[in-house]
Symmetry: C2
Subunit: 162 residues, 2 copies
Amino acid sequence: MSDKDATVARAVLQQCLGASLMVKPAEEGSEAEYVQIERGMVIYICFFKGATDDILPKMVSSLLNLRLCESSSGKMVSVLDLPGSLLIVPQATLGGRAKGKAMQYHNNVNKEDGLRLYEAFVGLCENELSAKENVKVEHGTYGNRQVLKLDTNGPYTHIMEF
Amino acid sequence: MSDKDATVARAVLQQCLGASLMVKPAEEGSEAEYVQIERGMVIYICFFKGATDDILPKMVSSLLNLRLCESSSGKMVSVLDLPGSLLIVPQATLGGRAKGKAMQYHNNVNKEDGLRLYEAFVGLCENELSAKENVKVEHGTYGNRQVLKLDTNGPYTHIMEF
């Protein structure tokens, strides 16, 4: 993976026609709870050691303005221009490095800072989409199992590092 | 992304409960054709300039033997040990680099070499799984639109570079 010590976050982006994510597991007497979006983009996100809030505005601006989605006319446009919804998935496994057959996650940020950065990232995304009609921002529960269903017309999977 | 000039391939891995991929678009008089797997792993794969067949055995060995999947007992195991099926998705967008708001793919291998490497990669995966029962290798059509549906109990998204 990247040898740049300065890398503090990694995101995987997939456009979708629809996606759903569990935010609360089933318990005795209550069913599991899910959030869902229709057309838009799934953002899998992971922060590394050294990440600070300073990086977040640039990250959000890049991810929402880069032409990562396909419009109905076949042109590549940003999720803001689509316009599409966002499903934000905390995904600590993105920080994995292979050691033998095992994956190690030593470079990931600690849980407390990770949660704070994640919540701030979600908040900035919500701000960016707040003026748009018919789109929304949904997100997973940090530290939870990310039970995901995804339906795409071509995910156009991209990776961005910050 | 990685500044290592030696990086010749990138893969994104997601474990799945089930996944389907279109391999032939609908045409007049014929419906679209899909392949599908049940439990296993989706491998999104992209080759860069400089990639040669020499890298393939190591790639396949790593991706199939790394502990990227969760067993029914909650232990992380390889897709071979799960045992699970594979859905291989050619995904040229993994080579994208941002320039302004646009994504550029100048570092991707040319189409002819990419197709050859992709087919050889699929063949090696098929060999590795051939002795396993109740699992299979399915794959997308190179250069086609990759219409994907994915159902996970936590994708455990990982990125590997070679």
